[in-house]
C-alpha cells in the first residue's frame, strides 16, 4: 500500500458522502451497456441480460473488492469491537467500576511510593554536575587532615572540607539580626562540587587565603527571600556575627550544598580560611590545631578512580595521620555523596529493596485483582464465546475483541490512575511542612515514569488475563460450552485453580502490605515517643549565644556563669542550669567511650551545675554537679567528674558499682560521680540511650557551642518570655534569646517526626487495604453470580439458606485463610531480612514486630473484612429464587 493510497483510504473514512451509490450507478450503466451490445446482435431482452450479468461476474464480489480497496484494513471491525466492548462495559457498571478503581488505586500508590519515598532519599544531588563522582568521608576530621588528603590525593581526587549547619547571626543593612544556618567551607568547596555562581563569583583558593577578611556567598533562596532578588546584590554588605561581610556571589536556583538531606540546607557560605573572629567555630585556630575534628571532607573522584581505590588511598593517608602526635585512631569510611542523603551502600541497597518490594507488592495486588476480576468475567462469558465461535467468528477475531475490551478498561484505569496519583500525592504533601525547601526538592508530585511503569504493567496484566478465558474457551467442545454456562469452562478453571490462586494472592499481598505499613506507622509513632524519666511539665528552656552576639570570650564566660543565679531570683523560678544543647529529645549514641578494654557508643552531653536538680531527675547514687566541679578545659589530663544514666551504667559496667570508676573518651578521662534516672530515646529508637554527662568547662562558656548554650529553667508558674528577655537585657543589652520552648512542647515536636512518617505510610496502608477489599468483593460477587444456576438447583433440591451460605462462605474462607497465612509469612520474612540489612530498620521495627495489635490485629481485621466481602454476595445467593435461576437457561 503506498502512502498516497493510505491517505485516500483515511480520507475515505472521514468522508461522510456515500461512494456506494456512485458505484451502483456505474455498475448499472455497465450492465446496461453490455446488454445493449447483445440486444444489438439480435438477442432477446432476457438472454441479453443473462449474458451481460454472466460477463460481469458476481455483483457482490465486485462490490466487496471495491470496499476492501477503499477502506482502512481492519478499521471497520475495530470500530465494531470498540462499540461492542463499550456496550459490554456499560452493561456491567459494577465490574467496570471495580476494575477502573483498582487500576487507579494501584497506579496512584505506586507513584506515591516511588516519587514520595523512594526517590526522595535516593534522588541525585540537585544543581551539581556529575554527582556520581562525589564521595563523603563519614567522620569529621581536623582541618590539617583534610589538607593532607587534598595534597596526597591529587591524582585520585579533588577535595574540599566544610563544617555543615553553622548558625550565623545575619543582619541585612541595619535590620535586627536573624539566625541563619550556613556552612564554613574550604575555598575549594565550590570548585570541587563544580557549581557555577548565578551572580558574582564563588570562593577561590588563590583569593581566600588564610586570615583574609571574610566574604559571603549566599544561596538563591536567601537572595530571593531576604534580598528581594536584588540584581545588584554583589557588593552589598551583610552583618554576620556582628561583622561587616560583603556578598561576593549568589548560587544558582537548584544549588543546596553538599548532602543537604543529611546536614540541612545552608543559606550562607563563609570561607573557613577567613579571619577567625567571624565565627566562634573558628576560634582557637582550628585550621592549624589538631584537636578539633570538625571538618567533613568531600571528594570528587577523578574519572578513573573507583570508590574502592579511593577508599584504599584514604586508608593509607589516614594510617599515616593516625601515627601523628594526636593518635586519634580514627578510621575514615568513604560513602557516595551522589544523593540528597549520602548513605553507605548497604543502607542504599536496603532502602531500594524496601521500596522495590513495596512497589512490587502493590503491583502484585493490583494485577491479582485485575486477574481475578477478568477471569471471573471471562468465565461467565464462556457461553457467549462459544456461540460466537460456532457461528463463525475466528479465534483471532475473538482475541482481538477481548483485547479491545481490556484496552478500554486499561485506558480508563490509566486516566483515573493519573488523576489518583496527583490526588494522593498532593494529599500526602499537604501534611508535610511546605516551609522546608528540601521538601520541595524531594516531593515534586507524582512521578510520571512511575505512573507509566505501573500503567504498563497493569495494562499487560489486563490484556493477558482478559485473553486467558477466550483461549481456554476456544479449546473447548463448543456444544458442551453452549449447553450450560457453569460447566465446561468452569471446571477447567477450578481444576487449574487459577482464579482461586488470584484470591489467595490478593489476600497475601494485602496482608503483607498492611502489616509492613503497620510496622512502620506504629514503629515510628512508638519509637519516637520520649519518656525522659522525670516530670517534664515545669521545665522550659531557651538558648543564648553570647559569642555570636559580639561579646568577647571573657564577657561570654562571665555572662554564662552569672546567668543561672540571676534568673533563679525571678519570682516563680525554682532553678536554672545550663546545657551544651537542647538534649532532651534527640540524642544519638555516637561518641565511643571506653572502660578498660570495652568500647561502647554513648551520647555525650555537657551540662552546667545543679543540672539534675533543675530537671527534677533523681540522682540514684553520688551527687549532682556543683560549681566547684567545673573544670577549666585547658588541660586534657585533668580528670573530669561524669554522671551516667542507668542505661550507660548497664552498658559500660554491667552489674559492678560504677561510682568512682573511670571512663576514657579520646584523650580525656572521666570519673563517674553520679548515676541518674534519665531516659532519653533516640529518634526512631525504642530503647533509652546510654548517656554520659560531663560538666561544661570554662572554655565551653567562652565560645559556646554551635547550637548556642541552652538555659534550662524550672518554674512553679509559667515565666513569660518578655520577663526573661528583660532580665537578659539587664545583664547585657547585646544578648539575644532564641528558641524559647517548654519541654512538653519540645517533646511533642520531636514526636511529630514519627507522625510525619506515619502520615506518609498510613495512606499507603489504607489505600492498599481499600485495594484488597475492592478485589475481594468484586471476585466473590462474580463467583456467586456465575454459580446462580447451581445454587438454584441445590435450593430446588432442598438445600437450606444456611447450607447455601455455608457453601459460598466456606469456599471463600479456605482461600482467605491460605492467603492471610502466606502474606503473614512473607511480611515476617521481609521484616527479618530488612532488619538484618539495616540497623535503622531494625531499631524502627524491632520494638513493634511482635506487637499483638499488629500481628494478630491486622490479619484478623483483613479476615473479618474478607468475611463481609464473601457474606454479602453469599446472602444474595441464598435469596436466589430457584425457579427463576433454573429458567434462566
Amino acid at each position: 500500500m503506498t502512502l498516497r493510497e493510505l491517505c485516500c483510504r483515511i480520507a475515505g473514512l472521514l468522508r461522510r458522502q456515500d461512494p456506494d451509490a456512485d458505484l451502483d450507478v456505474e455498475i448499472s450503466s455497465h450492465l446496461e451497456l453490455a446488454k445493449a451490445r447483445y440486444l444489438h446482435r439480435g438477442m432477446s431482452e432476457a438472454e441479453a441480460r443473462r449474458l451481460a450479468a454472466l460477463e460481469f461476474g458476481s455483483l457482490a464480489t465486485a462490490r466487496e473488492n471495491v470496499w476492501e480497496q477503499r477502506r482502512m484494513p481492519g478499521i471497520a471491525s475495530l470500530v465494531q469491537d470498540l462499540q461492542y466492548a463499550a456496550r459490554g462495559v456499560r452493561k456491567s457498571p459494577g465490574f467496570a467500576f471495580v476494575t477502573v478503581a483498582t487500576l487507579a488505586l494501584g497506579i496512584g500508590l505506586c507513584s506515591l511510593v516511588y516519587s514520595g519515598l523512594g526517590t526522595g532519599i535516593l534522588r541525585p544531588l540537585p544543581g551539581v554536575p556529575d554527582p556520581d563522582r562525589l564521595a563523603l568521608a563519614l567522620a569529621p576530621v581536623p582541618y590539617h587532615w583534610f589538607e593532607s588528603y587534598r595534597d596526597q590525593g591529587k591524582t585520585a581526587w579533588t577535595a574540599a572540607a566544610f563544617i555543615p549547619s553553622v548558625p550565623f547571626a545575619v543582619a541585612i543593612e541595619g535590620a535586627t539580626p536573624e539566625r541563619i544556618t550556613g556552612a564554613l567551607v574550604s575555598p575549594e568547596y565550590f570548585s570541587t562540587l563544580r557549581v557555577r555562581p548565578m551572580l558574582g563569583r564563588f570562593f577561590d583558593p588563590r583569593i581566600e587565603t588564610a586570615g583574609t577578611s571574610p566574604v559571603a556567598v549566599v544561596t538563591e533562596h536567601f537572595w530571593r527571600t531576604r534580598l528581594n532578588a536584588d540584581p545588584h546584590a554583589i557588593g552589598r554588605t551583610l552583618r554576620v556575627n556582628g561583622r561587616a561581610v560583603p556578598i561576593v556571589g549568589v548560587g544558582s536556583r537548584d544549588f543546596f550544598g553538599a548532602a543537604p538531606g543529611s546536614f540541612g540546607v545552608p543559606d550562607i557560605f563563609i570561607p573557613a580560611t577567613a579571619d577567625p573572629s567571624i565565627a566562634p567555630e573558628l576560634h582557637d585556630d582550628p585550621l592549624h590545631r589538631t584537636a578539633r575534628p570538625e571538618f567533613f571532607v568531600l571528594l570528587r573522584l577523578a574519572p578513573r578512580t573507583t570508590m574502592a581505590a579511593a577508599q584504599a588511598r584514604l586508608d593509607v593517608a589516614t594510617r599515616a595521620l593516625n601515627k601523628g602526635p594526636e593518635r586519634r585512631g580514627l578510621s575514615m569510611q568513604l560513602i557516595s555523596a551522589s544523593a540528597l542523603v549520602p548513605l553507605p551502600k548497604a543502607a542504599r541497597v536496603a532502602l531500594a529493596t524496601f521500596y522495590g518490594v513495596l512497589v512490587f507488592t502493590i503491583l502484585g495486588l493490583t494485577c491479582a485483582n485485575l486477574g481475578g476480576l477478568l477471569l471471573a468475567r471471562g468465565a461467565a462469558r464462556g457461553r457467549e464465546f462459544a456461540i460466537r465461535l460456532s457461528i463463525g467468528a475466528g479465534r483471532a477475531r475473538l482475541v482481538r475483541q477481548l483485547l479491545t475490551e481490556s484496552a478500554i478498561l486499561a485506558a480508563a484505569g490509566g486516566l483515573a490512575g493519573f488523576v489518583a496519583a496527583n490526588a494522593i500525592s498532593s494529599l500526602v504533601l499537604r501534611t508535610q511542612s511546605a516551609s522546608n525547601p528540601l521538601i520541595e526538592i524531594m516531593n515534586p508530585g507524582p512521578d510520571l515514569g512511575a505512573v507509566l511503569f505501573a500503567f504498563a504493567i497493569s495494562a499487560v496484566a489486563a490484556a493477558g488475563f482478559g485473553l486467558l478465558p477466550a483461549l481456554a474457551v476456544t479449546r473447548l467442545d463448543l456444544m458442551d460450552a453452549m449447553k450450560a454456562n457453569f460447566t465446561a469452562g468452569m471446571h477447567r478453571y477450578r481444576r487449574l485453580g487459577l482464579r482461586n490462586a488470584f484470591v489467595v494472592c490478593q489476600m497475601a499481598a494485602a496482608t503483607m502490605l498492611v502489616l509492613i505499613m503497620g510496622f512502620f506507622v506504629v514503629g515510628a509513632k512508638y519509637g519516637s515517643r520520649t519518656e525522659p524519666g522525670f516530670d517534664t511539665a515545669p521545665i522550659s528552656f531557651f538558648s543564648v549565644d553570647p559569642a555570636r552576639d559580639g561579646l568577647t570570650r571573657g564577657e561570654s564566660a562571665a555572662v554564662l556563669r552569672s546567668l543561672p543565679e540571676r534568673l533563679a531570683r525571678l519570682p516563680g523560678v525554682d532553678g536554672v542550669s545550663l546545657a551544651g544543647r537542647p538534649l532532651f529529645g534527640n540524642a544519638d549514641p555516637t561518641t565511643p567511650v571506653s572502660v578498660v578494654s570495652v568500647t561502647r557508643p554513648v551520647a555525650l552531653e555537657q551540662v552546667g551545675s545543679r543540672f539534675f536538680a533543675t530537671l527534677g531527675a533523681t540522682v540514684l547514687r553520688g551527687a549532682d554537679f556543683e560549681n566547684r566541679d567545673l573544670p577549666s578545659g585547658d588541660n586534657s589530663r585533668e580528670v573530669v567528674p561524669a554522671a551516667i544514666n542507668q542505661a550507660a551504667a548497664t552498658e559500660l559496667f554491667g552489674d559492678r558499682d560504677p561510682l568512682g570508676r573511670r571512663i576514657r573518651q579520646g584523650d580525656r578521662t572521666f570519673q563517674v560521680s553520679a548515676v541518674v534516672r534519665y531516659a532519653p530515646r533516640a529518634m526512631l529508637m525504642g530503647r533509652p540511650i546510654p548517656t554520659v554527662f560531663v560538666p561544661l568547662t570554662a572554655k565551653d562558656l567562652e565560645h559556646g557551642a554551635a547550637e548556642g548554650t541552652t538555659v534550662v529553667v524550672r518554674a512553679r508558674t509559667q515565666v513569660g518570655i518578655a520577663e526573661l528577655r528583660r532580665e537578659l537585657a539587664a545583664i547585657d543589652s547585646r544578648l539575644t534569646l532564641f528558641h524559647p520552648q517548654t519541654l512538653p512542647e519540645y517533646l511533642a515536636e520531636s514526636d511529630r517526626l514519627g507522625s510525619k512518617i506515619a502520615a506518609f505510610y498510613s495512606p499507603v496502608g489504607v489505600f492498599g487495604l481499600l485495594l484488597a477489599c475492592l478485589g475481594l468483593a468484586g471476585v466473590t460477587a462474580h463467583t456467586v453470580q456465575r454459580r446462580s444456576k447451581e445454587i438454584g438447583i441445590r435450593m430446588a433440591l432442598g438445600a437450606q439458606r444456611s447450607q447455601v451460605l455455608r457453601l459460598v462462605m466456606g469456599e471463600g474462607a479456605v482461600m482467605v485463610a491460605a492467603g492471610t497465612a502466606l502474606g503473614f509469612a512473607a511480611a515476617t520474612a521481609f521484616v527479618r531480612v530488612l532488619s538484618a540489612g539495616s540497623v535503622q530498620m531494625a531499631q524502627l521495627i524491632g520494638p513493634v514486630a511482635s506487637n499483638p495489635a499488629l500481628t494478630v490485629g491486622v490479619p484478623a481485621f483483613l479476615v473479618a473484612f474478607a468475611a463481609i466481602a464473601c457474606y454479602v454476595p453469599a446472602r444474595r445467593a441464598a435469596t436466589i429464587d430457584p425457579l427463576a435461576a433454573l429458567r434462566e437457561d
Binding site: E5, E26, S29, H30, L33, F56, G57, T61, N65, R70
Partner: protein, 117 residues
C-alpha cells in the same frame, strides 16, 4: 473457444492492462475498458468484468488515473476515466519491467523445451 482454456490474469497485471488501454484509447468508462481489454486480447483473457472496478479505485487512489462523470453513447450516466501524467510515467516503467520479465522468463523456459525435443 472452451472457457477453461482462457488465460487467468496474473496478479497485478489487470492494473497494467487498464493503464495501457486508457493510454491508447483516451477517456473510457468501465464497460468500455473491459470490452477493449477483451477485444485486444482476442477474447483470450478470462475477465470477470466486475473485477476492474476495484482496480479502477486503486489506480485512482494512486492518482495514476482520473475520473469524471459523463454521458455514454446510450445516454446513460457513466464515469469516464483518463490516464494522468503520473499514470503514463508509471505505465512506461511497468511496461519495460514487464517486457524484461517476459524476456527473461522466455529465455529461461526456451532451452528447457529445446532439451526435451
Amino acid at each position: 473457444m472452451p472457457q477453461n482454456t482462457k488465460l487467468d490474469l496474473l496478479q497485478g497485471t489487470l492494473d497494467l492492462l487498464v493503464l495501457q488501454t486508457l493510454a491508447a484509447m483516451g477517456p473510457l468508462h468501465g464497460y468500455g475498458i473491459a470490452r477493449r481489454i477483451e477485444e485486444s486480447s482476442g477474447d483470450e483473457v478470462l475477465l470477470n468484468q466486475g473485477t476492474i472496478y476495484a482496480s479502477l479505485v486503486r489506480l485512482q487512489q494512486r492518482q495514476w488515473i482520473a475520473a469524471e462523470w459523463g454521458v455514454s453513447d446510450h445516454n446513460r450516466r457513466a464515469k469516464f476515466y483518463t490516464i494522468t501524467r503520473l499514470g503514463r510515467k508509471r505505465l512506461t516503467a511497468e511496461t519495460s519491467y514487464w517486457q524484461r520479465l517476459t524476456t527473461v522468463i522466455g529465455r529461461v523456459l526456451a532451452p528447457a523445451e529445446g532439451g526435451e525435443s
